[in-house]
Amino acid sequence: MLDSHVQNDRIAEILDAHHGLEGPLLPILHAIQGAFGYVPDSAIPQIASSLMLSKAEVHGVISFYHDFRSAPAGRHVLKLCRAEACQTMGADAVAGRIKAALGIDWHETTADGQVTLEPVFCLGLCACGPAAMVDGRLVGRCDEGVLAEVAK
């Protein structure tokens, strides 16, 4: 865990860098998550006072969007597409085998902190499904072989 002063300073920098943008909250949240891997609860009052919003409004925005996390993810994040085009190519079965192999369900992290498994609804790889994203890298025609990439 970062020292809280260091964290506050970094967030202040991010807030400053987004000064003057129209509708700055999403870019700010992306930048904070980029810096820390998640949006710490302690950032909420700082963001709120900077943007003259209530803490509830900032919390409401963070909790609305699937992308923003309130706690760190595992070392690797494996996203599997669950949408229709990938389903027609067997995505459900692949996801079932991957869940069994990892021993976790959607939105869970393995006990060793190695892998977080998340559903995603479409990566735009609908003609080469099932699709996956491993730590931001795209994988087409994915099967449980993708697990080798998160075992490292």
Binding site: G23, P27, D67, A83, E84, V120, F121, L123, A127
Partner: protein, 501 residues
């Protein structure tokens, strides 16, 4: 030696980055000077990664390439096991009318010189010499309708914004392409970003808007990277500037933000909750000011309309569906990818002739047209011509022109349940029929699956409530996949009961 290796997400997902490295390394080890251009995709996803080598006769294609196929590129090209011949002569390419996608896969996406050399900026230059009203009239005359799904005439939307009073107006590009089976926006942004920039600049001139935003979903990292780079290049070259400038914004994983009013809320930094209309975004949109919200393909079709004239564009198509449509053929299909063609092909031609049937080789059971909110069409409706009104008449929609092909192993009750589950996950929560109805829909379909046929009138009634009681298409159109599955595939909705009998 000049080689094209796509940077397109689909090509990358199938190994294009490793291929580009391998080609560079092989060239270096052989002492051959290799120029690698990372282009967009030609749209033949089943052949990706598709590598092209420039030869005297033209660009020769090789695909689907693996790293093991790389050394062969430095030998006798004709004898290469993955050789496809001249890419422009392939049936998939020759059958198309590429207007919006004319440059995608052809040029270096981040070379403004390449863009100009292939007809780029001609439309913007012409627009600069016209009045606002003349530009609006040209776009209206072309018959261009919103390609995001709603099909609203683009020119009429522009007219409203153009004539609205206001010091500051905006052009917002909806690049939150969340529908399964759609990837045209992604391919366009990755393969020819300047076309979108030019279309937005023309929209800015037509409407008196000086500021634009492209709202791209976070699931598209490559498109975000390419668009951000293209905006910087366009700004440095003076294509963007005081008259019209734009920024890229990144979504955060909410499907509903593809709906224009929730997109505007998200852009303003709020929860992506749908707004009631009126007020129309054209009058009170981003920050309460007059705003054009157009889909990527709508805006990217404007440069060719302005360059070649409304009459040229309008000549393609059928009925009230004018111009071309980039079909996205996806799911369980032999030849999947992007195929731009005039409106009017039948669904059967698209699925069987262009797509080649299923990848699994099993019979086609159903095709979902228009994404997760579109209806499932059985083969008995394969004579439906591809057009807005034509699909509407069959209780369907063309949406963003994505097609998910499913083979006969697909359980349609399960697909109907997924539609409700997806709606429940992605509902913004504003309308009760969507927020709660989708949850009840999952439960009701589970009752059906358990053999309780009394749930059929209930699900029908629920779908009607959602249809008429939701502000936006998420709650309003989720009934399409559900009811089309129930109507066309009733056998799938009575498995447990039959088993019991």
């Amino acid at each position: 030696m000049k080689v094209f290796v796509p940077l397109d997400s689909a090509a990358v997902a199938l190994g294009a980055d490793k291929l580009a490295e391998a080609i560079a390394a092989e060239g270096a080890s052989r002492g051959v000077d290799v120029q690698i251009v990372r282009n967009g995709s030609r749209g033949m996803v089943w052949l990706e990664p598709l590598v092209e080598v420039v030869a005297d006769a033209g660009r020769v294609g090789f695909g689907p390439m693996t790293v093991a196929d790389v050394p062969g590129l430095f030998g006798d090209l004709a004898a290469h096991p993955k050789a496809l011949g001249l890419v422009d002569e392939l049936p998939w390419m020759k059958g198309q009318t590429r207007l919006t996608f004319a440059r995608v896969g052809v040029i270096d996406p981040l070379s403004l010189d390449d863009y100009r050399a292939h007809g780029g900026l001609v439309g913007l230059d012409r627009a600069k010499a016209m009045t606002k009203a003349q530009i609006v009239a040209e776009v209206t005359e072309s018959g261009l309708r919103g390609r995001g799904g709603a099909g609203f005439p683009t020119g009429i939307k522009w007219k409203t914004v153009s004539e609205a009073p206001g010091e500051q107006k905006y052009i917002v590009c909806n690049a939150d392409e969340g529908d399964s089976a759609t990837f045209a926006d992604r391919m366009l942004m990755e393969g020819d970003p300047f076309t979108l920039i030019e279309g937005m600049a023309i929209a800015g001139l037509a409407c008196g808007a000086t500021k634009g935003y492209v709202y791209i979903r976070s699931e598209y990292p490559v498109a975000i990277r390419v668009m951000e780079a293209a905006v910087r290049i366009a700004r440095d070259a003076g294509v963007l500037g005081a008259a019209f400038d734009m920024d890229i914004r990144v979504g955060a994983g909410a499907y509903v933000c593809g709906e224009e009013t929730s997109l505007l809320n998200s852009l303003e930094g709020k929860r992506g909750v749908v707004r009631a209309k009126p007020p129309l975004p054209a009058l009170q949109g981003f920050m309460g000011r007059p705003t054009v919200v157009n889909n990527v393909i709508s805006l990217a079709s404007v440069p060719v309309i302005m360059a070649k004239g409304a009459a040229f564009y309008k000549d393609f198509g059928l009925g009230r569906s004018r111009g071309t449509i980039p079909l996205q053929i996806a799911g369980n299909v032999k030849r999947g990818g992007l195929y731009e063609v005039a409106f009017g092909l039948t669904l059967g031609q698209i699925v069987n002739e262009i797509g080649g049937g299923t990848a699994s080789g099993r019979p086609v059971k159903a095709v979902q047209v228009g994404g997760p909110l579109g209806a499932w069409f059985p083969p008995s409706l394969f004579d439906t011509p591809f057009g807005y009104e034509e699909f509407g008449a069959k209780d369907g929609l063309i949406g963003h022109a994505g097609l998910t092909i499913a083979d006969d192993s697909t359980d349609m009750l399960r697909m109907a349940r997924f539609a409700m589950e997806f709606c429940a996950i992605e509902s913004c929560g504003k309308c009760t029929p969507c927020r709660i109805g989708a949850v009840r829909g999952v439960e009701t379909l589970d009752r059906l699956a358990a053999g309780d046929s009394s749930a059929i009138p209930l699900i029908t009634d629920l779908c009607n409530t959602m249809k008429s009681g939701s502000l936006c298409a998420l709650g309003g159109f989720t009934p399409y996949p559900v009811m089309s599955a129930l109507t066309h595939f009733p056998d799938d909705f009575a498995p447990a009961r039959e088993a019991a009998e």
